[in-house]
């Protein structure tokens, strides 16, 4: 990636991630990157998200690794404990399962189990997402597993500017952060952020204000929420959209304030609906606002099955805009 004097007005999501890492590395010499094929000699990452970074910062700081997810995350944990801010790329989210011991038993717990003597300020970048026929082991959304683990932060951006700001904040955060990217979304364009643009962790945004119902989502669900909101507006339904941006810990204040206003909500995510993030958010809303709600909080997610390969089945399995609209109509009667 070369810097040009004239900045483009729109950039792709993948480019935003690249720029965030470049800024973090320029700002702090302790930021290092590790992952499979991430250095330029190996192609700058399978999705080219790290392209140009090893050329700029050297292969000591941008390290291609063996295909060894446990060893990658372990190396990030150990170096994070003694002053580094490592960014480990786990190419696809399903491969995180291989490194779960390092993430759950170590990255998430070492601060606590050491009584605060050590900390693990690492970031794990990983991508996933269905809709492109990658089948059952390359597209799962596993954020609920990770959000269930105390000690981890879980982040998912829905647009390039947020990706830039959130990834930078994740890298600089003193806690372990899982930063979830979206494979089909890498090529989605959006307004370019200013170089000093940051987005704090734990703060949701309201990209669309409305009065009748709140659609709560993150990552790949936000564009569908916008599409649904546009259509519902034609029926005279005014949707407010809350983009969580940080899944754990999520911004309860913004969510509850919005739902207290609209008195109805649907939580939308690409992950399977059952036992998902939507269950936790819906439950928190019910705990706080039950008596004020027009109807129980709705949930939209994908089918309780592995991600299918065949486009025909994948389409049927996957959550979509129609599901959101249907759920809103159901709730508002």
């Amino acid at each position: 990636m070369t810097e040009t004097a004239e900045k483009p007005k729109e950039i792709m999501f993948a480019q935003a991630c690249n720029m965030a890492m470049a800024k973090a590395m320029a700002d702090d010499p302790k930021v290092i990157l590790m992952g499979e094929d991430i250095a330029d000699e190996q192609g700058g990452g399978v999705f080219k998200v790290t392209l140009g970074l090893s050329e700029k910062f050297g292969t000591d700081r941008v390290r291609s690794t063996p295909i060894s997810e446990q060893a990658i995350v372990g190396a990030a944990v150990g170096s994070a404990m003694v002053g580094y801010k490592p960014v480990a790329e786990i190419m696809l989210m399903n491969f995180i399962t291989v490194a779960m011991d390092q993430i759950v038993n170590h990255a998430a717990k070492l601060r606590f189990m050491s009584g605060g003597q050590t900390s693990v300020p690492l970031t794990i970048r990983t991508t996933t997402g269905a809709g492109t026929g990658l089948g059952g082991q390359h597209s799962d959304m596993l954020e609920a597993w990770l959000a269930h683990v105390p000690g981890l932060k879980v982040v998912a951006a829905s647009n390039p500017a947020d990706a830039y700001g959130l990834l930078y904040s994740s890298i600089m955060d003193p806690n372990p952060v899982i930063f979830i990217e979206n494979t089909p979304g890498y090529f989605v364009k959006g307004p370019a952020p200013a170089p000093d643009h940051t987005v704090p962790l734990g703060k949701a945004s309201i990209p669309r204000e409305g009065t009748d119902i709140t659609l709560i989502g993150y990552g790949s669900s936000i564009s569908r929420c916008h599409g649904a909101a546009d259509n519902l507006a034609k029926d005279g339904i005014s949707c407010e959209i809350v983009d969580l941006r940080t899944i754990a810990p999520f911004d309860e204040e913004t969510v509850l304030k919005s739902v207290a206003k609209t008195k109805a909500a649907v939580v939308v995510h690409e992950a399977v609906k059952n036992f998902g993030v939507g269950a936790e958010i819906s439950s928190r809303i019910h705990e706080e606002l039950f008596s004020e709600l027009k109807a129980p909080v709705g949930r939209v997610g994908s089918g309780y099955a592995p991600v299918p390969f065949s486009p025909a089945i994948e389409k049927a399995w996957m959550f979509n805009q129609d599901d959101i609209e249907r759920e809103v109509h159901k709730i508002l009667g």
């Binding site: 446990q70 372990g74 190396a75 011991d101 189990m113 050590t118």
Partner: protein, 327 residues
């Protein structure tokens, strides 16, 4: 196994001083648990004292250690003050980790003890990260990573050693081969004849040594440390040893053949090392003084652990993240 000359007198005294503290601590823990004064799961270390003591005598306080739940010997040998350690074993606020780690999760960065893990083999990838930091910082530190023979059957061992070798990290992988992974003998569950072979298969400098022989263990440790500090990369040390009191306290070692146990006890490294000191003209009185000093340290630490207050219950909200979590 290579023959080595006897280590210097001062080195052997140093190793004995550490090893005796470990042995007496182990005995005291078992007594107190048996008497109901401590309610903890305990993984005895009797029999493995010399391996750790010789290894840690070859490194500095600033060097890192990553160890496992059977780790009391490693932690004491590395220099964690007994009072802090005992208080943590007892779950007290004055413990190394404010009582939030416990015996299986001892951390004490002041003495370089960075991680004690309860998951077999999982310290290996983390040790690489510490080594990577030292390599990038050029701080000359080495990381000692302890694990048992059983850990070499888990994936993390193979991933971790491969990466350490590819990156030439300053890490010493100390496999304390006590011949049993929990209740399973090595020959039953380990395909290779030695752990050394596995290191060699990964292209790593690998040595096998009688870990119960203080001089041989110290020589192997020193060589590995110098090799790592010189930037040549990691070493796998397979230190042959034995454990006398089972996987965890209460285990009768029924699965260990009687003759094997009897022979191991005849080879108990502690009386052998003590005799070596006597042979080097160190007086019985001098040795007894070391033992008495250790005994006093342990008495004080044990009493301190019993008397110290427990942490307040809401301590659980602290150290989950950098900021306190909500109640």
């Amino acid at each position: 196994m290579a023959n080595t000359d006897m280590a210097d007198k001062d080195v052997l005294i140093d190793i004995f001083t550490r090893a005796d503290l470990i042995m007496q601590s182990d005995i005291k823990f078992r007594q107190m648990i048996g008497a109901g004064q401590l309610q903890i799961v305990y993984y005895p270390v009797r029999g493995q004292e010399v391996v750790s003591s010789a290894m840690m005598a070859a490194v500095n306080k600033e060097d890192y250690l990553v160890t496992i739940y059977r780790g009391l010997h490693d932690q004491l040998a590395k220099g964690i003050p007994s009072k802090d350690l005992w208080a943590e074993f007892a779950g007290k606020m004055a413990g190394t980790c404010k009582g939030k780690g416990g015996p299986m999760h001892i951390t004490h960065p002041e003495t370089g003890v960075m991680v004690t893990t309860g998951i077999v083999g999982s310290g290996i990838p983390i040790a690489n990260g510490l080594g990577l930091a030292s390599q990038l910082d050029k701080d000359g530190k080495v990381t000692v990573c302890c694990f048992g023979d059983g850990a070499t059957n888990i994936g993390a061992f193979h991933e971790g050693l491969n990466m350490a070798q590819v990156w030439k990290l300053p890490v010493i992988f100390l496999c304390q081969n006590n011949l049993y992974s929990e209740h399973t003998p090595m020959a039953f569950a380990t395909s290779s004849d030695s752990i050394k072979q596995r290191g060699e298969g990964l292209g790593m400098r690998s040595v096998q040594v009688n870990g119960n022989d203080a001089s041989a263990m110290y020589a192997a440790a020193k060589e590995a440390v110098e090799y790592a500090r010189a930037g040549h990369g990691p070493t796998l040390i397979e230190a042959m040893t034995f454990r006398f009191h089972g996987h965890l306290l209460g285990d009768t070692s029924h699965y260990i053949p009687k003759e094997e146990m009897e022979q191991a006890k005849k080879d108990d490294p502690m009386p052998i090392l003590r005799q070596q000191l006597l042979d080097l003209q160190i007086s019985e009185a001098d040795i007894a003084a070391i033992e008495a000093k250790n005994a006093a340290i342990i008495e004080e630490a044990a009493q301190f652990a019993l008397d110290a207050p427990y942490p307040p219950g809401d301590e659980y909200r602290i150290d989950v993240l950098d900021v306190e979590i909500a109640a």
